[in-house]
């Protein structure tokens, strides 16, 4: 899986904001805000990445147990699937 083209992540004053640009801005009218771990997952998904690979990267980056990491990733994936920006 991978984030669809046409979205840019920008950090402004400690806030992570995803902005639709180009063609994507015609279909997606909102703005997504992420926390720092959400931004990490977003960046990881800019390239094709499986759930297992995502989990591995997440555990390398954050000092948390596997169970919590799985829940966080699931929550994140569901959210971005809801707004249809995952390929």
């Amino acid at each position: 899986m991978k984030i669809k083209a046409g979205f840019m992540l920008r950090e402004v004053a400690g806030n992570y904001v995803v902005v639709p640009v180009g063609e994507a801005s015609k279909e997606f009218k909102g703005i997504i805000t992420l926390n720092s771990s959400g931004a990490f997952l977003w960046k990881s998904l800019l390239e094709e990445c499986s759930i297992e690979e995502l989990l591995e990267k997440f555990l390398d980056e954050y000092d948390i147990d596997e169970e919590t990491a799985k829940k966080d990733i699931e929550l994140f994936i569901n959210k971005i699937k809801e707004v249809n920006i995952l390929e």
């Binding site: 004053a13 902005v19 640009v21 703005i31």
Partner: protein
């Protein structure tokens, strides 16, 4: 004119935020709705948000948090869209140079503190058709093309891009100085098409741009913050001799000194005097982009000749507004260069447009009607103290 308590407080909050401090006390009898209104008129609500965020100020805190969120979104959208534009211009081999807020925002403690309503970019005029094509391909709509000194492109939800063919419109005498700007620019690192001004020229433009607004309708607190932050960042490295000799050529040396003194009085440890108080009051009461009252006073003042009475000066100004000169109309409607006989037609269409915008025209007429001789004298005194008597 003087400073209301809320105006003084807003300035102290800005100073605190610029120095990474929180404000810990707000006087009980401070009128928070007035404070917010003044901040809004200068697009500085976000300074209030950062300065007062540790305090629970009820409705004011809620409104500031909401406005902060909007400013963060705007800053993110502007940053992302600007990056796309820069990339597209480079790909299409179009020389360009980001201006004003696009550059200065990085000197603020957070980029969202430097609010922007539009993106300003100078480009190589010979590429205006290519620029139009790029903008349309990126989903922008053309709002105006080939009129004045810039083309305007819009894109929902909030992008407003001004693509400048020249730095300053020909109606200002300052425009002559900037005709050769492309000979004085530097290529950005790792780019073949993106340019920037030297640090000295950027400061000169900051002053010229501030002066253009200040002397023609007023300028807001934000421009004074820009100047303060720029000087704080670069003052030790700037070639002051070059800057002063160029400001002398522009007739803005005194203006620059007084405005930077005001900036250091407001936001640092600078001292004040009577003229700085007057200039400061004029800025605080101007709003972010000046206002129609100031514009009316200045235009009546500049159009006044010899023993003209106030009433006849006002009538002359109204006539100039309804029937601008051929040179002004020619700049706005390029076809008049080829077919000058069409001038009455364009006056007529201008009148019709004016009737359609009835509300703003009524406001403008009301502002002209209310101008008093003492208003003219005050502005005249400020201009004389700043060493600028004529239109720049």
């Amino acid at each position: 004119m003087g400073f209301a308590k809320e105006e003084q407080f807003l300035l102290s909050v800005i100073k605190a935020v610029l120095h990474n401090k929180n404000v810990e006390v707000i006087e009980e009898d401070m009128d928070k709705s007035v404070l917010l209104k003044i901040a809004k008129s200068h697009r500085l609500e976000n300074f209030l948000y950062y300065g007062l965020k540790e305090m629970n100020l009820g409705e004011l805190s809620v409104r500031l948090a909401k406005s902060h969120k909007n400013d963060v979104y705007r800053a993110a959208i502007f940053a992302a869209e600007s990056e796309l534009l820069f990339h597209a211009f480079a790909k299409n081999e179009i020389k360009f140079m980001p201006l004003k807020g696009l550059v200065i925002k990085y000197l603020y403690p957070h980029i969202d503190l430097r609010t922007m309503v539009d993106v300003d970019i100078l480009f190589d005029e010979s590429k205006k058709k290519e620029v139009k094509k790029v903008m349309v391909e990126l989903g922008y709509k053309v709002k105006s093309y080939n009129a004045g000194n810039h083309d305007v492109y819009l894109k929902d939800p909030l992008m407003h891009v001004e693509m400048h063919r020249s730095l300053i419109d020909e109606s200002y005498s300052l425009s002559q100085y900037y005709k050769s700007i492309w000979n004085r620019v530097i290529l950005e690192k790792d780019s073949c098409f993106q340019y920037r001004m030297t640090d000295e020229d950027f400061y000169l433009f900051l002053i010229a741009h501030t002066a253009k607004h200040f002397l023609n309708g007023g300028t807001g607190i934000r421009n004074i913050i820009d100047i303060y932050l720029y000087l704080e960042k670069y003052k030790k490295e700037l070639n002051i001799n070059y800057i002063e000799s160029e400001l002398e050529k522009l007739g803005l040396l005194v203006f620059s000194k007084k405005i930077s003194e005001l900036a250091y009085y407001w936001f640092d440890e600078g001292e004040t005097n009577q003229i700085l108080e007057q200039i400061g009051s004029y800025v605080v009461h101007s709003g972010v982009y000046g206002n129609i009252t100031n514009a009316a006073i200045i235009n009546i003042l500049l159009g006044k000749k010899g023993k003209d009475s106030l009433t006849s000066s006002k009538i002359k100004y109204i006539l100039r507004r309804i029937f601008p000169s051929y040179s002004t109309m020619k700049r706005r409607n390029k076809i008049l260069k080829k077919i000058p006989i069409l001038l009455p037609w364009f006056w007529f269409t201008r009148l019709l447009t004016g009737i359609c915008r009835k509300e703003s025209r009524i406001k403008e007429m009301d502002a002209i009607d209310k101008v008093k001789q003492e208003d003219i004298e005050k502005i005249k005194e400020i201009r004389e103290e700043l060493g600028v008597k004529e239109k720049i």
